[in-house]
């Protein structure tokens, strides 16, 4: 076939070949590439990060090895990483629900704060301090979920009824939630005017591994709390929802083509509000798990931006609930590893680079570079 490109009868038709680079759209990527790609992209991002580290005069190899040791090198490292992965998983599951329907909920941080606020209210002011732990934690979890859900429903209703852009409303509500919390921790709920509430009663603490050290000595000093099991369980539930349920199918259809969904008899208004409620609710649960499992009180800036990192996590995991667990552990590791490194901004820098490379690389998955003649 290639021989016939320039028929011999007209030698003048030979065009001077000029090699040029062209972007071509690829219709369908092979399955293996879709799953391997995020891994490759993370490696590329780490290489870019290494370049930046050497520019500022650090030895990237040493930095990365130290970070990996801290995060994954020991049982205590895994414990710290798990502590940070727990709220990330919950919040990322939350935003992934909205993203699946192409609703850009970037308000997980605010939803997380409001969840923490509601859980704190239950722990300190609703249930008596000597309530049984199961009742206390269930009450806090429900309240936390509800707080986040309310913070998600507000933009949800505005979107569904008035078509208000949810990106703006969810973003703005973040600030409202943080300031709302500040009002309470400096005002009515404050402990002597500092930016924190009194510590929760022990009944409002999530059980930690170390609490069982008497029975299982191996757990001594492992401060990770059992919230991780809740997070993993919810990830599995969500996976089943997407794969096996009618409602999961409806959300997928709406996300792919809202017009087709309406045509198929799917109620868009109800589903938008429901999805935003669940999305916010899970982020609220992340806030509850953080105050009940780690800080044991509500205080200023208790979240180092989990709600924002969750967006990156959900995206990198391609909204796959099980993928979110893995990616959360990666990002939690970055946070833990960064604790011991100066300057402290390295972790955020690497997160930024990873997101950048992933979003850019995502495009490369849909296109390919080719040399063409002409």
């Amino acid at each position: 076939m290639s021989v016939s490109t320039t028929p011999s009868s007209e030698p003048q038709a030979e065009i001077k070949p000029r090699r040029r680079l062209r972007l071509e759209r690829v219709q369908e990527q092979p399955r293996w590439l879709r799953w391997l790609a995020p891994l490759i992209l993370v490696i590329v991002a780490l290489l870019v990060g290494a370049g930046l580290l050497s520019v500022i005069g650090a030895n990237p190899w040493v930095v990365y090895r130290r970070m990996a040791e801290l995060a994954y090198g020991s049982a205590f490292g895994w414990s710290d990483t798990t502590i940070k992965a727990t709220p990330l998983i919950l919040a990322a599951l939350g935003v992934s629900i909205a993203f699946r329907m192409r609703l850009w909920n970037i308000g997980a941080e605010g939803q997380l704060y409001l969840g923490a606020f509601m859980a704190t209210g239950v722990a300190l002011h609703v249930l008596p301090a000597d309530s049984p732990t199961w009742l206390m934690l269930t009450g806090m979890a429900l309240a936390g979920f509800l707080g986040g859900a309310i913070w998600g429903i507000i933009p949800g209703i505005l979107k569904a009824k008035l078509n208000v852009n949810e990106i703006i409303t969810t973003l703005m509500l973040n600030y409202v939630a943080i300031l709302w919390n500040n009002f309470f921790i400096y005002g009515p709920w404050s402990e002597r005017g500092f930016g924190l509430t009194p510590q929760f009663p022990r009944t409002a603490w999530f059980p930690r591994f170390t609490d069982y050290a008497d029975t299982f000595p191996i757990f001594r000093g492992i401060t990770a709390h059992l919230g991780i099991f809740v997070a993993i369980l919810l990830a599995i539930v969500l996976w089943v929802v997407w794969q096996r349920t009618r409602w999961g199918f409806e959300v997928t259809v709406v996300g792919d083509n809202p017009r087709a969904a309406r045509y198929a008899g799917i109620n868009l208004t109800r589903n938008i509000i429901l999805v935003m409620a669940l999305s916010g609710g899970l982020a609220g649960l992340a806030g509850m798990s953080e105050v009940a499992g780690v800080v044991h009180r509500l205080q200023e800036r208790f979240s180092p931006g989990y709600g924002f990192t969750a967006i990156i996590v959900a995206w990198l995991a391609k909204l796959n609930p099980l993928g979110i667990i893995l990616v959360s552990y990666l990002f939690a590791g970055l946070l833990v590893g960064a604790d011991a490194i100066q300057p402290a901004g390295i972790a955020q820098l690497l997160q930024g680079v990873i997101l950048f490379v992933v979003v850019g690389g995502e495009m490369m998955l849909h296109y390919r570079l080719r040399f063409v003649r002409g």
């Binding site: 028929p7 009868s9 030979e14 794969q243 997928t252 087709a260 309406r262 008899g265």
Partner: protein
């Protein structure tokens, strides 16, 4: 190797007899992943001819024309304009060499005037526009080629036919010598088509070359000088249009005999399935689109709604399917009142809808064929109960329907967007008809489909009717309406302006009513 009449002029001895072709595409091959879209296709046109390009969906017409206008780059082969080799990397390169295309979907800015649209994208425009001069030129081009349009009118004020003229003027203004027109008559009334053919003749008389992509064999025979037929990405034949019959062309296109008349027994009328009474509704812009429309549809009949696009057909379909609220009037399915009920109620009441827009409304492009086939009945499929979805039942249904409706797809898991137009249409028809609906609303069900697929779709609709289905066929293709409808209702400006059986109706009569002229 098949014979290639088009390559004859390239031989030096032949140049004495034949003038240099206006355009030549030699041995074009273009491969997409998994598809050989063009396989060694050669194609040439003479100056001043109307050259029709015929072929089924997926025959490679669009790919070939996209290569010609610089949207795609061929894997191999060459393009010559007036005997000189050229390489186009964008439509802009192509128009510089005098090759331009009017796409099926117009690319006009609706809030701007005709003149502004004409100069849009030009590079040598002064910073301060000399509007009156451009308007004069647009008017001049319009007068020269019989393309009357007010250069000061805004695009949204124009009819579809007028917008098409603007697209053609855009190309002529840029000095196009070779104009590629993709399905240009699909949006025109029979009378407009006649005027359009006169315009084509005026353009060819002025030395322009027209490449006409069309599915309508009657029109191709009426207007083309030569016809090139593609099938499965390969060049089948280039023939002079002398004494050709539709049947000959169709069998070249499809590769087998095609029946144009579908056997149809007389309608066995049953009870009234759909009653639309005095319905008014607004279009997306908030302007009244339906103005007191009434319509009856009985079991066992196909009623064809004929009309020029934009006279309320889409709104009518959407009102019946619960996708658009009514202002006044009522809708009944069998005897159940469903006025302004949500889509889910309509679906459960037994309405099936084959929407006008296959990809924007009728399917979820990234979901699989199986999922698309289950879009209407996933609630009832399998034994999942209220919460769960039976993926096995979904898959079984898909395998079933793919076989029954002869859908060409690599697998039930293939994403819907990867199917050809005809196959996607079959997916939608299969899904809608599998519900055993009381009433089927089919909007432009064969638009953009090739003869083979069209025949298939029409046969499916008639089979359904024979089994007692009530079908409302919305179409602007009068051949189609005459071929399969039992009754014809003409819609004009949101009202049914006339109704008659297809036996007593004539093409002229319907055409005039479509244009708003009362008989």
């Amino acid at each position: 190797m098949q014979s290639q009449p088009t390559s004859v002029p390239a031989e030096k001895t032949a140049e004495v007899d034949e003038p240099t072709p206006a355009l030549e595409m030699r041995h074009i091959t273009k491969r997409f992943p998994g598809v050989l879209a063009n396989n060694d296709v050669s194609f040439s046109t003479r100056r001043g001819e109307v050259h029709a390009l015929l072929g089924e969906n997926g025959a490679g017409k669009s790919t070939l024309m996209n290569i010609l206008t610089g949207l795609y780059h061929p894997d191999s082969g060459s393009i010559l304009v007036n005997g000189k080799p050229v390489a186009f990397h964008s439509p802009r390169d192509a128009i510089k060499a005098g090759v331009g295309m009017v796409h099926q979907h117009f690319m006009l800015v609706s809030s701007q005037t005709v003149a502004e649209n004409v100069i849009l994208g030009l590079q040598n425009v002064n910073f301060v526009l000399d509007t009156s001069q451009i308007e004069a030129e647009v008017e001049h081009i319009g007068a020269q080629f019989g393309l009357p349009v007010d250069p000061r009118a805004k695009i949204w004020q124009l009819s579809v036919g007028e917008q098409q003229r603007v697209e053609i003027i855009k190309l002529l203004y840029r000095g196009a010598q070779i104009l590629i027109l993709d399905e240009p008559t699909a949006v025109l009334t029979p009378q407009e088509i006649e005027a359009f053919f006169v315009t084509l003749r005026e353009m060819t008389a002025a030395g322009k070359t027209i490449i006409l992509i069309s599915h309508k064999l009657d029109e191709v025979i009426a207007i083309a000088d030569r016809i090139t037929i593609l099938r499965n990405g390969e060049h089948v034949a280039t023939v002079d249009n002398q004494g050709l019959t539709k049947a000959q062309l169709a069998s070249l296109m499809v590769g087998r005999e095609v029946l144009f008349r579908i056997e149809k027994q007389p309608a066995q009328l049953g009870e009234v399935r759909l009653a639309v009474d005095n319905v008014s509704a607004l279009n997306d812009k908030g302007i009244p689109a339906l103005r007191g429309l009434s319509l009856r549809l009985r079991s066992g009949e196909i009623v064809g709604v004929a009309g020029v696009a934009g006279n309320g057909q889409r709104e009518l379909a959407e009102v019946i399917c619960g996708l658009r609220p009514t202002e006044t009037g009522s809708v009944h399915i069998s005897s159940q009142s469903v006025t302004n009920a949500p889509p889910i109620v309509m679906i459960e009441a037994g309405i099936a809808y084959v929407p006008e827009d296959r990809s924007a409304t009728g399917s979820a492009p990234n979901l699989s064929v199986a999922q698309n086939l289950a879009l209407k009945n996933y609630r009832k499929l399998g034994s999942g109960g209220r919460f769960f979805l039976s993926r096995r039942a979904m898959r079984e249904q898909a395998i079933n329907l793919i076989q029954k409706f002869n859908i060409a797809t690599p697998s039930p898991e293939t994403a819907a967007r990867l199917l050809s137009g005809g196959n996607l249409q079959k997916v939608i028809l299969a899904r809608e008809l599998a519900q055993r609906p009381l009433v089927t609303v089919a909007a432009y069900p064969t638009r953009g489909l090739d003869v083979g697929a069209t025949e298939n779709v029409r046969r499916i609709l008639i089979d359904e009717r024979n089994q007692g289905a009530a079908i409302l066929l919305i179409s602007e293709d009068l051949d189609e309406i005459f071929a399969i409808a039992d009754r014809i209702a003409v819609i004009f400006e949101g009202k049914i302006v006339g109704e008659m059986t297809s036996e007593e109706a004539t093409l002229d009569q319907i055409g005039l009513m479509m244009a708003g002229v009362q008989p």
